[in-house]
Point group: C2
Chain length 462, copies 2
Amino acid sequence: MNLTQFLADLQFDPNQIKTDSDSLNNWGKDWTKHFAPAPSAIIFPKTTEQVAHIVRLANTHSICLVPSGGRTGLSAGAVASNGEVVVSFDKMNAIGTFYEADQMVEVEAGVITKALQEFANAKNLYYAVDFASSGSSQIGGNISTNAGGIKVIRYGMTRNQILGLTVVTGKGDILELNGGMLKNATGYDFRHLFIGAEGTLGFITKALIKLEKQPVNLTAMVLGVPNFESVVTLLDRFGKALNLTAFEFFDSVALDKVLSAGHAKEPFDTRTPFYVLLEFEAVSDDVLDTAMSVFETCCEDGLIEDGVMSQSVGQLHELWKLRESISETISVFTPYKNDVSVLIVHLGDFIDDIEQIVKDNYPDFEICWFGHIGDGNLHLNILKPDTLSKDDFFAKCQMVNKYVFDTVKKYKGSISAEHGVGMTKKPYLDYTRSPIEIEYMKAVKAVFDPNGIMNRGKVFDI
Amino acid sequence: MNLTQFLADLQFDPNQIKTDSDSLNNWGKDWTKHFAPAPSAIIFPKTTEQVAHIVRLANTHSICLVPSGGRTGLSAGAVASNGEVVVSFDKMNAIGTFYEADQMVEVEAGVITKALQEFANAKNLYYAVDFASSGSSQIGGNISTNAGGIKVIRYGMTRNQILGLTVVTGKGDILELNGGMLKNATGYDFRHLFIGAEGTLGFITKALIKLEKQPVNLTAMVLGVPNFESVVTLLDRFGKALNLTAFEFFDSVALDKVLSAGHAKEPFDTRTPFYVLLEFEAVSDDVLDTAMSVFETCCEDGLIEDGVMSQSVGQLHELWKLRESISETISVFTPYKNDVSVLIVHLGDFIDDIEQIVKDNYPDFEICWFGHIGDGNLHLNILKPDTLSKDDFFAKCQMVNKYVFDTVKKYKGSISAEHGVGMTKKPYLDYTRSPIEIEYMKAVKAVFDPNGIMNRGKVFDI
């Protein structure tokens, strides 16, 4: 490795390379705090060709590269803690050609999610992926982790919105994948291999994104529910009757914290162990009548103890705050976060098992549950007791992890539903993927990145 | 290669192996007629483990294997013309566990598409992939070619319905891919690599399939349209106003043939160069009013010359016959078929270019266009003139191919939208995929099938 020679050989403008310590610290990490950033340099390419140039030279000089987007990742997938050179997409943030007839737009990898959402709105269309970090996260990072969020039940993951990709492989080859077509049955669809690969096969530089129709008259209900079993029954009942755009849940611990922090208003007086936030398009009075009728039947059947429905866009946003403020609110309690998924049929048993494990082993831990229940995706948060130091708390949580992931494995679930593997979940990859699958993954990586320079040490060790 | 020893080593029941010439001829081919079937034997495994056993022994004995489903393929992807052993999934046709809460069902690869559709109906759900051969095609084959059909505009390709796969790789390893989860961000999604791989990486033995809600009050319109440009404008206008479940088109040549053959009734008196069949869920009177209002505006604007809307399920089926009988009707004219796609923005220019090419070079050829216009997918059929022998006609069509695929390349389209590559499109693969992409495909195949025994000679040569 010869960093100085590598940087000189790039022949980039001086403002495209940063090596000062503030920059190294800033662009060397994401939202995870487990690993100290220690990159050697930050490079800011402006074109796909420059990215390919970087990768080819990095192979020559044995430089390891880490891709960097909005740095909002929660699994340390974009952390450079080992002297790597960070390739930031901050200067590749152009929104390109809009294909009106195809409801599609080409964007560079560095475009911020919110900017794409706003572009779509301006075209009277809709970018369907949304989550808490949409104001900072970049499209390239979203694609590389196959980001999910709050509208998956209706629109699918980021994967579902991607009609084409431009990538630079670990060998420095530029591939144009799928060209925006809805139908293209001409061999292996490498587009889907790069989606969710966390930059370990190559770097995504551009994407062709499908835009959706604007949703009509979005309407939310918040429901107070006596137990988790009822949450799953409500998903079934409302799911059959309405075209849901969201079906989220949270527990009373989450609600208490959000209300105490003043981040949202109490939805109704009744307090219940669990809450559901569901959303649908009220395209007609018939749909509203159906929603009310299901609500009433569910109340009679004891599945709902209280509830409220938004009557305006303002009220819709107020209700969403109950769900959307949870992450920020609980961050002061130094939560230990897990992001797991199981089939919906197993959700109830899974939650029971985990609560029993924590009660038996860590009676002083407070648990806070919330998540995208319509997708089988649960965010399990363990809150730090005041009596424990941060280090002791995280050490104990590492021990809880084993039990949690054993339980995920028991129900054949995923140890990372939407946050990726990166470095934080790497030790647990074999709880969801078999050893033989992991061997095939390594062999496929070797095809696209034979020298192992692309985000080395993420997802698995090579 | 030692076939006798291979078959003996399998230790299967005698009824699981056929070597008589009728069977070799029957299971050795699909719907394409370009290649003579010449397999060595047909094997009928009953379990995934038996498939793995076959593949491991085939590696030992250097036997090449060809997967065989419903044999309805149109690109010779399942033709065994070179002494291969055919692995038929006819005995693996069980519909397995139904996951009601997840709206998902596990099926073996040999389940007929129509059987899955009927199973879904019996559960008051819907399997969203449908096409002309659904009464014979098998799910394993559908997945291996990522089958499309008439509902893609609403529900996506087969790829969109697959939540999990069980596969046997070319090395004989059994992989359980994704386990039915909507969200699972744990490394490379090999499920999507096997979808559309045409059996060249391994064989699909089971799938977890997502089922959809039943559509409500499906309603069709058939519209007479003065030119192709108007077809594209209508797609835009109706697409913005309604949630379309289909948007198909055909030209007057196709309609003439269907009506002459007595396969459908004339939709209205006016004759126009092009016709559109669109379908939507008339969930309320408001939706019907919207449809009528768009129709009237389009008539005023000269985009539509005549039209009809179904008023009953019977009329819906009658109107669909106009579109669905085309393939069968024109088969007596020995059509030369192409299945291409381009972005919707390019459709008009693409059709103009092709018509000009045929007019300039082959003035005695009659062209028949139809297809899934909402997906940018066109079926171009050249009909054989009476004056030409079949051999001369196909020879001339091969020459047209070059011009057609040059035009596909000009618009960065796909030489096979939904029929796969198999053997018939193999010489043209590089019109859609770059040489470097094809090299990566070969390298990925070598990872999963190092001895090159899985459907060798399909998609590309190794």
